[in-house]
Amino acid sequence: MNHSQTTVSRRNLLLGTGALGLSGILAGCVGGGSGGGSQNGGGGGGITFQNSIQDTSPRAALEHLVSEYDDGDVTMNSVATEQFRAQLTNYLRSNNPPDVLTWYAGSVARNYAREGLLLDVSSLWEGDGACANFSDALRSLSSDDDGNQIFVPTQYYWWSVFYKKSAFEEWGVEPPSTWDEFHALCEDLSGQGVIPLANGIGPTPWMASGWFDYLNLRINGPEYHRELLAGEHSFTDQEVVDVMEEYGRLIPYFDPNMTSYDNQEAVTPMANNEAAMYLVGAFVTEYFPEDQRDDLDFFSVPVINDSVPTAEEAPTDGYFAAARGNNHEETLAFLDYMASAESQETFIEMSDSGYLPTSPDVDTSDFSPLVQKGIQLLEETEEITQFFNRDGSDALQATADDALTRFLAEPESLTQILEDWQRAAEGTFD
């Protein structure tokens, strides 16, 4: 009897110690956590700037801009794009969210705005705010359903057919000005044993959408293109069939290895003068060895159907801010700084890449000839689209990747592919 009582009391003691130990650990962790949190969060202690920019030079440019910012304390976190995308909703919903985040303009930002997760940045778009004199196109791109601005665009880039001047000279060819000339050029290059068109649709299948977008823009026009990507037309339409047939005519000109390459590896044959042209975003300049970058030039995909307005793809990048952040004033001040003409100029100069400013006040005279030409291209075009996933959605992009890469492998099953595409696309629109 006596015996068992001691046992019991010992057990109680043990249990008590155990529980105490546990709660101690828990208390410790909660304390430690909130301490860590307030450090990078709000409470007047500076703001957090979460970004997914990973290319070396643009990131260095951003770091430079942040370090030059004197009006507050900014902690910059660079995070892999996939992680950023997977965590974005969590970031915005968090009790202690990062204040400023990189993203691109379009439907995703609007969805977040609908849930009240984004900070209204309209104040930057009026008076002497940094975005006040940005173009109307940018303003509407950055507005939510109610016409308030929730996005701060800071740069964009253009898509075109890039080539090396020295290589074209060596092969004795000129950039084409009509679609027929383009085909003739491809024939000529093929005849010389050069691969006319580089591409990398292996790990980066979305690269196949570049040509789709441009052919659709050139054949059916930007209006049809936007409507198609908004679900107002079917991918089984004759219009899309026309586009795909034109796309099919290009298949013999593509690098046969494109299905193995990603968009960066696709550059290697071009660097070695084994491939000639590459329809790609201006970020491609960074992929080339440094001594070849000045040799790069580009031409726009030639007109195919002259009854539709000209259009170019120019994806717009920038920032939005978390509504739940607890330092709105500092956040707006920082965004104003990042969007200012001086910051844009610094960023573009340092980033080594083909970025264009969104601010009309940026002095572009010092920019490289390539960037100057890019600016001119976008000024002269009648309409601007972004890219398949930004004009449509990331979900729709996945269906395009499937359909287009399959088409490039087996063009003869076009009908079946378009039917499958339409079915998959319908699933993304509701």
């Binding site: 043990l14 155990g18 969805n111 609908r114 193995s260 990747d401 492998a409």
Partner: protein, 320 residues
């Protein structure tokens, strides 16, 4: 280092102060003590269990409850009943992923177990160079998966070593774009995954072989049994415990395989190398269908449970 946590000793000793006073017991007393589970043991069990429930089962429950909703992660989730599962059934990509996963479990599991066991047996006995061989086989484990994926992409590149060596031995007709060929890509990735997994399996079997009774085998050798018979009749039965562990590791890893596929093909070309895990990730984070992705994860979980429980139940039946 985990083996020698020093601070615990004293605590445990003081925790049982009355133990030495106990009368040296009889068999019956020992048995009854065995039945009574001391408080300390309950604590031993409870802490880890609570831990796992909180960090694994609670979020899992949260997640599974999403499988009956349509949710993009932004707007409020909308209950749709079993619609996601119905959609899964009609989803051709899901079916491809499911088929691929079955190929994966058999191919990846089978190959890595057979090669891993063979290597463990070959490298069990010490000898010159054996340590080096073991280290070499294990080495792939220490390289991160992303880099592993990169390495194998280079191996399989159109003018990479794989095609180059085929060309060298005059088999140009077999040269392929390994990762871009829808019929081959899955197997190409599978080889890469096996290459990395073999080290794990070998280590587990090496640990198991160390605990085998050598004298049994030697006795059999004296009786004239050849190496093959000795292996199957004497060594294999002793490895039963390890087999179970290896089976569990293999099933878990097959269903969880993600990084290497993601790094090498992203599930392409046109979803032909999609596994359930990569398809789920794509649905959840690229296309933002978290409800649908949850439904896929329920299927993965059910499959894993199915495999493992079947195996364990069969095994415990054999024991009885």
């Amino acid at each position: 280092m985990a083996v020698e946590a020093p601070s615990r000793t004293e605590e445990t000793r003081t925790a049982s102060p009355q133990a030495p006073q106990r009368a040296p017991g009889f068999g019956a007393r020992v048995l009854s003590r065995l039945r009574r589970v001391p408080m300390l043991i309950w604590l031993f069990l409870l802490v880890p269990v609570v831990f796992e429930v909180f960090w694994v089962f609670w979020p899992a429950l949260n997640s599974f409850s999403l499988s009956v909703t349509r949710w993009d992660g932004i707007t409020p989730a909308e209950p749709v009943g079993l619609q996601n599962f119905v959609d899964l059934w009609d989803d051709p990509i899901f079916r491809t992923a499911l088929e691929n996963n079955i190929i994966w479990i058999i191919g990846f599991g089978g190959l890595s177990v057979v090669i891993g066991l063979a290597l463990a047996v070959a490298l069990n006995k010490p000898g010159p160079m054996v340590g080096l061989y073991r280290s070499a086989i294990f080495l792939p484990m220490v390289v991160s998966l992303a880099v592993t994926g990169l390495f194998w992409r280079v191996m399989y590149a159109p003018d990479g070593p794989m095609n180059a060596s085929l060309g060298l031995v005059g088999l140009e007709s077999l040269q392929r774009q390994w990762l871009a060929d829808p019929d081959l890509a899955l197997y190409a990735v599978l080889i890469a995954a096996v290459w990395r997994q073999v080290g794990y399996i070998m280590v587990l079997y090496l640990a198991g072989l160390k605990s085998c009774d050598e004298s049994l085998e030697e006795a059999a050798a004296v009786d004239g049994a050849n190496a093959w018979t000795r292996f199957w009749r004497i060594v294999m039965p002793q490895l039963k415990g390890v087999h179970t562990v290896v089976f569990a590791v293999t099933v878990i890893d097959s269903l969880r395989t993600f990084d290497i596929v993601w790094a090498m093909t992203r599930g392409g070309p046109y979803n032909e190398t999609q596994l359930l895990s990569t398809y789920m990730f794509q649905q959840a984070f690229t296309t933002g269908n978290l409800g649908y992705a949850s439904a896929i994860s329920v299927v993965i979980f059910a499959l894993a449970i199915g495999f493992i429980i079947t195996y364990l139940v069969r095994q415990s039946r054999n024991e009885d």
